[in-house]
């Protein structure tokens, strides 16, 4: 029994070492100057602490900080618009129940079914035609649109759990639909809103594909395109810079994860049950 248990622990520990290896070695590389990196073994400690120097170079060569700002704007604005639009729609579909509420839900929800490739060409054409190509406003509108179906799915499910009696009492007090939404439903939706905000903002932050298609200049391109340009099969990669970049761009999502771990896992489960 003791032997079995220790074998179990050994297997787990080996797996954990494998899982930690990329994190540990990429951090180590990010702390080294490019010279140190070439002259040392991967596991050796840096002879001088160069993380700050690497960050400076990453900012001056790849302008990561500017793309960082773009993506913060997209994540916050896109996530917020999606939350407002989806919660209003979810409230109406579930509580006001107009005619065709279910078909309307299905049409909006169907946005999550397709692989992203199916949107690319028409979006690219449309953005060029109506002047949204390479603009921040275009990116914000698109990111809100693509976040709405999942957000609606979550709100729709959540609003069914709010008891009818509260609604009826508010109606008797003369609440109209908007007041009912604002004063009764919004204050109760903190948990689902946290899940959605966390999950959709992380998604926008991590997006590569749409940013690549719909933007071209430094003032609009999201962070992941800039990060992807730091490494590639054609060579010329300076590994300590690339690792510093990978770490720098992961800070917001890792922070969110640490702060709101409970919601993160809830959201992941919802995302999966949504696939």
């Amino acid at each position: 029994m003791v032997l079995k248990k220790s074998i179990l622990y050994i297997i787990i520990i080996i797996l954990i070492l494998i899982w930690l290896l990329p994190i540990w070695t990429s951090f180590l590389a990010a702390f080294k100057s490019p010279e140190d990196f070439i002259n040392q073994k991967f596991y050796e400690l840096p002879s001088e602490f160069s993380l700050i120097e690497n960050f400076k170079n990453v900012f001056s060569i790849y302008k990561l900080h500017r793309h960082f700002l773009n993506s913060i704007i997209y994540a916050v604005a896109g996530g917020t618009i999606a939350i407002i639009a989806a919660s209003l729609a979810g409230f109406s579909i579930i509580r006001l129940k107009p005619k065709f509420n279910f078909p309307l839900f299905l049409i909006i929800y169907s946005g999550t079914l397709f692989p992203f490739q199916i949107f690319l060409i028409p979006l690219y054409k449309m953005f060029n035609t109506i002047g949204l190509y390479d603009t921040r406003i275009g990116m914000i509108l698109f990111y809100s649109a693509i976040c709405i179906p999942f957000s609606l799915f979550v709100y729709r499910g959540f609003y069914t759990t709010i008891p009818r009696e509260i609604e009826e009492a508010a109606r008797l007090d003369g609440c109209n639909s908007f007041k009912l939404y604002l004063h009764i439903f919004v204050p109760q939706s903190i948990a689902p809103t946290a899940v959605i905000a966390l999950f959709q903002m992380t998604w926008i932050w991590n997006d590569l594909l749409f940013g690549m298609i719909l933007t071209r200049s430094r003032s609009t391109r999201p962070i992941m395109i800039a990060l992807a340009s730091m490494s590639g099969p054609s060579g010329g990669t300076i590994i300590p810079y690339a690792m510093a970049g990978a770490i720098f761009t992961s800070i917001p999502t890792i922070l969110l994860f640490i702060l709101l771990r409970k919601y993160f896992i809830q959201g992941m489960v919802l995302q999966i049950s949504n696939e």
């Binding site: 209003l88 169907s110 992203f116 979006l123």
Partner: protein, 290 residues
């Protein structure tokens, strides 16, 4: 008891969400469907060629390579992250340091596929990469992981597993939590060993979760793009492309908009067909209709 007094307001509430999704998602789907019947470079007048693009796909060697790679992705994402996630979930459940162990496998989930690709490009790089230096200790020669076919696909699958395993682990842990311990104990009392209990009792009871994880693995591997784009750009010579990457290259590098559209339609049909299995399951449980 439908109250039509609120009808106008209720549509007004749905309108913003509907408009955004309709303009940016639904219309593009219909357009892509139409484009897939065109011969079009995006500049000259498009020519209607009927099923021409679809017929060309099946005689295109490059598409066949890409399709084969996509199947490899599907098969191996089922083996590695699926089996790995299940094993880790069963292993860590109830251990003294369960939460600590779980956290280690969660960390990569929070990192983007782009950052994952960058980190693993370093791990697998030929001269200074971590893996080649590690295996050198055992006297193995340097390997060109990312330029060798099919090693490069295998390398990317390892990066994928590193990133995705935690999600499957979480799901399986949820599934395990729903299994009543009495059932397991009863089986053990009947003399079934740990392994046989797992095969005959635990695993069958995990079926709902297993269906989700398998569906998700298939759907996601058909969609795989970011990691491949970062690590190999689909190369060398398009040898590590999957359908999603081929579509991107045909469209935005070669300007074959009609052909790219046809590939994305085929991709969508496959993904939706697989998802339908899952959605049907959900609908049968009345989850869609609450």
């Amino acid at each position: 008891m439908r109250n039509y007094k609120y009808s106008f307001t209720s549509y007004l509430f749905i309108l913003p969400a509907f408009l955004l999704v309709f303009i940016f998602l639904i219309i593009p789907v219909l357009q892509t469907f139409y484009y897939s019947f065109l011969e079009w470079d995006g500049i000259k007048e498009p020519v209607f060629i009927g099923l021409g693009n679809y017929l060309r796909i099946f005689s295109d060697d490059n598409f066949i390579v890409s399709f084969r790679n996509t199947i490899i992705w599907v098969v191996f994402t089922l083996i590695f992250p699926f089996a790995g996630g299940l094993l880790v979930a069963v292993f860590v459940k109830g251990l003294a340091l369960e939460n600590f162990f779980k956290s280690i496998f969660y960390i990569p989930i929070t990192i983007s596929f782009v950052a994952t690709g960058i980190i693993w490009t370093y791990m697998f790089s030929r001269e200074l990469g971590v893996i080649n230096n590690l295996i050198a200790a055992f006297g193995v020669d340097k390997i060109s992981w990312l330029t060798n076919v099919p090693l490069n696909t295998f390398a990317m699958l390892i990066a994928w597993t590193w990133q995705q395993l935690g999600i499957n682990m979480v799901l399986f842990l949820m599934g395990l939590a729903t299994i009543p311990t009495e059932q397991i104990e009863a089986a053990m009392l009947d003399g079934a060993g740990k392994w046989r209990t797992f095969i005959h009792v635990t695993f069958p009871m995990l079926r709902p979760i297993t269906t989700i994880v398998i569906t998700m693995a298939i759907v996601n591997s058909f969609k795989a793009f970011d990691l491949i784009y970062v690590m190999t750009r689909g190369g060398p010579y398009n040898s590590s492309e999957t359908l999603a990457v081929t579509m991107f290259r045909e469209t935005f590098t070669l300007s074959r908009l009609g052909y790219g559209s046809a590939i994305s339609i085929i991709l969508s049909v496959i993904v939706i067909a697989v998802s339908a299995i899952y959605i049907k399951r959900m609908a049968s449980k009345d989850m869609l209709y609450y």
